[in-house]
């Protein structure tokens, strides 16, 4: 048993070392043992229900295993306890003893837990009664699109954490992975009906402080609702595995008082109108290239990589690609099937390449196509104008 003694020594050394390293760092850390502070009626209900449940199951755990552990100490062979021989309840009293726990369990299941759960479900699924506004959320690999049908606002929201932070080349920021370029802005105190769908695979929209989580399913609309009670910035992320960048698809909601919200709507409308107007003017090559670089880095670089080298074998390289360096349009100015423009506008079915005409503006599309044809060593020298894209839609 020499080996065993040595083994015991090593285990001891290992655990002591471990504790020496882990305990100081653990003591510094601040822990969260429960749901984050709720800010909607549903989240408050959920937290309350959850806290109740935790008490109930802790009591059950302690009582049931308390009995078992009592028995383990009391009824052991080493204390000379003689085993009984019963194999089931005998007599009325024992039957009562045997059945009472199940009556209690039934009560817990269908009364203590079942009744509040019923009301919570009805409340959670009632998305329409007295809804003040609609927010449409579209999940796509790997970003969210937000649409305000009442005011015609529509934009994309992508993670803004720099890739260098993820690769540990830079210090991680306070909101590492939970920050976006364009957050959703919602008014406080209003019941917002949230409609969800997806353009590619299933995503799940989740903000823990709202207490709602709902899948965004391609080809179908799902709905849920939120009524945010306090202004603030609330962070969550995609909760259904949706491919490579599932972990990098945050949801950030900024809740503001109504007046501020209305001001934001006006500002956003002006911004979008300006962008739309840009589609009608003629752009210079430099303008297209500069805007295209911007779009490329936000939308395309995730898969096709910053230098256009792609990620073999799933995400093809754009540098030297046959499609990218192929003809721009037909001689009559029509869309060529499977050409570069066709791919960007309409995507490719069955792959992660999506139809960007649904999410990008004419100018963004023109810019990024021009950029791709004239970067990473591609040197086509041609360009496409936003007005041409508009006519191809």
């Amino acid at each position: 048993m020499k080996i065993l003694r040595r083994f015991r020594l090593w285990v001891g050394v290992f655990f002591t070392g471990l504790l020496a390293v882990v305990i100081p760092s653990l003591a510094r850390a601040d822990y969260s043992w429960n749901f984050p502070t709720p800010v909607t009626p549903i989240a408050r209900d959920t937290l309350e229900i959850h806290n109740h449940f935790m008490i109930v199951i802790t009591v059950l755990f302690v009582v049931v295993f308390g009995i078992m552990i009592y028995s383990m100490f009391k009824h052991r062979k080493s204390t000379g306890h003689q085993p009984a021989t019963f194999t089931g309840p005998t007599g009325t009293i024992q039957w009562v003893w045997a059945l009472v726990p199940f009556a209690i369990l039934l009560f817990i299941d269908y009364v203590l837990m079942g009744i509040p759960a019923y009301h919570a479900v009805i409340d959670m699924e009632d998305t329409r009664t007295k809804a003040d506004m609609v927010l449409k959320v579209t999940g796509m690999q790997w970003k969210w699109q937000y649409e305000y049908p009442d005011s015609g606002i529509k934009y994309l929201s992508t993670m803004s954490t720099p890739r260098d932070q993820i690769a540990n080349k830079e210090t991680k920021g306070e909101h590492y992975l939970l920050e976006v370029d364009n957050e959703v802005v919602l008014p406080v105190g209003k019941k917002v009906r949230v409609l969800l769908t997806s353009t590619d695979v299933i995503h799940t929209w989740w903000v823990p402080q709202f207490g709602v989580k709902r899948d965004a399913i391609p080809g179908f609309l799902r709905e849920t609702w939120v009524k945010i009670e306090q202004p603030g910035i609330y962070r969550g992320q995609c909760a259904e595995l949706c491919g490579k960048d599932h972990g990098f698809m945050p949801v950030v909601v900024r809740a503001v008082p109504e007046a501020e919200y209305l001001a934001w709507v006006d500002e956003k409308k002006t911004q979008l109108a300006a962008a739309a107007a840009g589609a009608d003017k003629s752009w210079s090559r430099d303008e297209l290239m500069a805007a295209g670089k911007d779009v490329y880095e936000k939308q395309c670089a995730v898969c096709h990589q910053p230098e256009g080298q792609g990620l073999a074998p799933v995400f093809p390289a754009l540098a030297g690609s046959k499609i990218v360096t192929g003809p721009l349009l037909s001689p009559e100015g029509k869309l060529l099937k499977d050409s570069h423009v066709d791919r960007v506008l309409n995507g490719k079915e069955g792959t992660a390449m999506q139809a960007f005409k649904t999410t990008l503006t004419d100018s963004e599309l023109a810019a990024v196509i021009t950029f791709e044809r004239n970067s990473f060593g591609n040197n086509k020298g041609d360009l496409i104008q936003p007005a041409q894209i508009k006519s191809l839609r």
Binding site: S32, W206, G243
Partner: protein, 536 residues
């Protein structure tokens, strides 16, 4: 269930068992002996347990700190999915089938399984399936394809429609594993129905055999549904059908319904054999007969029936109609009743017994307490409203590891320690067994307890990198996982030592045993019961 077989007769067979063993690869490829096949199943399960474990240790290492250190998300996604498939289909299920092969003939007084050649085939389908599942990893090293299935083990469409050839490999692997499971199940049902010793009525059948009988029926009922679902996936991927594509009139949620119609019973498929063996162990080491035999049998049947009507609680957030949400919530809660019956009977079996705490008993009690946590957290997960918060989060990951590691794997370990002396004829090292138990229990909780809190704090599953509020618990969980993983080497070493030699085991092995298998010598003769015992 006492019997009076001739011990002398058995001993003589024990000796000439060696004459049957010829050794060599052809022997193992063609053997139809239930004990040989059981041994192969158990060995295969142990090897795959370490392979699946190595995969998840790589994942936990990546999650030790935020940021991407060791691997890119694509590879991370492959590891998590293949880990689950390997652990469920190639470790837990074969281990349970290994138990069935070894034990059912011994326990019901049969010479062998009823369909020995099918038995052989059932096993030999497994290695090719495991190779199919993991081969894409190796192909990717040579630049062929993009690695293994990267959709998680649930293969949700349309992500799996989009995936690379790893998905096709997984589909074919699942087909083969499914055929193997169905063959095994048919064999077990036929054996139990036809080869019981004279006088062994169904209500005298050992609980382990009862648990397996229900599992076998569940497998036959649900595996074809899974096979159908993945075949539909295959045709969606390659032959232009649109079962799961809304643009073609299909529905992605249809896949989830089909998958979980198999997937929920699968949980009980994994656990029923364990629930069957736990009472035997508890009764042995409490030196007291099993409490509530009939109640446990009826609970097995009730759980089996309920398990096929509660599947949608696995996707409450997919946007089901209110009526469906309420139905699936209340029906799921109903499972807590038969399950509570089992807990009640296990504890009542210990009550007023004369307990001793050898390794199998320790594992059985560890199983009961930790699996209790899985049951209780399962009860709260059934609540649709609270589930909106728990779902897709680490809370669920923790919950099902309490069910499938503490419930499944620790249950298998209970059985291995309980029956190993019977199989090998040697006692294992009790000291190593106790070390293994305590290291496993402590590090298991160190690994998975923090994951409950991660889930509550809002960390989603299946992410390769996480926000900074999740740092501490992830670090603790990774440390726990590594201790847990490496502790299992003690298990493997202990088994190895026990196979090679050790103190001779008696026929009864443990003081308080009761049942036919303990009337045979350790190890049992080659043809187990050549003369069937008569049950009075």
């Amino acid at each position: 269930m006492s019997t009076a077989p001739s011990i002398e007769h058995d001993t003589s067979h024990g000796q000439h068992a060696d004459e049957h063993y010829r050794g060599g690869i052809m022997y193992w490829l063609t053997t139809t002996n239930h004990k040989d096949i059981g041994t192969m199943y158990m060995t295969f399960a142990l090897i795959m347990f370490f392979i699946g474990g190595a995969m998840i240790l790589a994942v936990r290492a990546e999650l030790f700190q935020p940021g991407l250190q060791l691997m890119q998300p694509e590879f991370f996604n492959q590891l998590i999915g293949v880990h689950a498939l390997v652990m469920i289909f190639a470790a837990l299920m074969p281990a349970a089938t290994g138990f069935a092969n070894w034990q059912i003939p011994l326990m019901i007084g049969a010479p062998d399984m009823a369909l020995p050649r099918i038995n052989n085939w059932g096993f030999w389908l497994l290695p090719p399936a495991a190779i199919l599942l993991t081969l894409p990893f190796i192909l990717a090293l040579f630049g062929i394809g993009d690695g293994a299935v990267n959709t998680g083990w649930t293969l949700y469409a349309p992500l799996s429609v989009q995936g690379g050839m790893g998905v096709d490999f997984a589909i074919f692997s699942i087909h083969i594993l499914g055929i193997s499971s169905i063959l095994g199940s048919i064999n077990i049902i036929v054996t139990i129905f036809n080869l019981r010793a004279p006088g062994m009525t169904m209500m005298k059948l050992p609980l382990f055999a009862w648990g397996w009988l229900i599992t076998a029926f569940l497998l036959i009922a649900t595996i074809p549904v899974l096979a159908g679902a993945v075949t539909m996936l295959l045709t969606d991927r390659h032959f232009g059908t649109s079962f799961f594509n809304a643009a073609g009139g299909g529905d992605p949620i249809l896949f989830q319904h089909l998958f979980w119609f198999f997937g929920h019973p699968e949980v009980y498929i994994l656990l029923l054999p364990i629930w069957g063996l736990i009472p035997h162990v508890v009764s042995t080491f409490s030196r007291k007969p099993i409490y509530g035999y009939k109640a446990q049998v009826y609970s097995f049947i009730a759980i089996g029936l309920l398990s096929v009507v509660v599947w949608a609680h696995h996707f409450f957030t997919a946007g089901l109609p209110v009526a469906a949400l309420l139905y699936f919530m209340y029906s799921t809660m109903l499972i807590s009743l038969p399950l509570a019956v089992l807990f009640f009977c296990w504890i009542a079996t210990m009550w007023r017994g004369a307990m001793s705490f050898e390794t199998p008993m320790l594992f059985a009690q560890g199983f009961i307490v930790l699996f209790g946590l899985a049951g209780l957290t399962g009860l709260v997960l059934a609540d649709v409203a609270a589930d909106a918060q728990y779902h897709h989060s680490y809370f669920v990951v923790a919950h099902f590891h309490y069910a499938l590691f503490a419930g499944g794997i620790m249950g298998v370990m209970t059985g291995v320690y309980y029956w190993l002396p019977k199989w090998t004829g040697h006692m294992f090292s009790e000291t190593l067994g106790k070390w293994h138990f305590w290291l496993t229990v402590i590090s298991f909780n160190l690994t998975f307890m923090p994951q409950f809190f991660l889930g509550l704090a809002g960390m989603p599953r299946r992410i390769p990198d996480y926000a900074l509020q999740f740092v501490e618990f992830n670090a603790i969980s990774t440390v726990g996982a590594f201790i847990l993983g490496f502790s299992q080497l003690i298990f493997a070493y202990n088994i190895w030592k026990c196979v090679k030699g050790g103190k001779k085991a008696t026929a009864k092995v443990w003081e308080g045993t009761d049942g036919l298998e303990w009337d045979l010598s350790s190890p049992p003769p080659h043809h187990s019961w050549e003369v069937q015992p008569v049950i009075k």
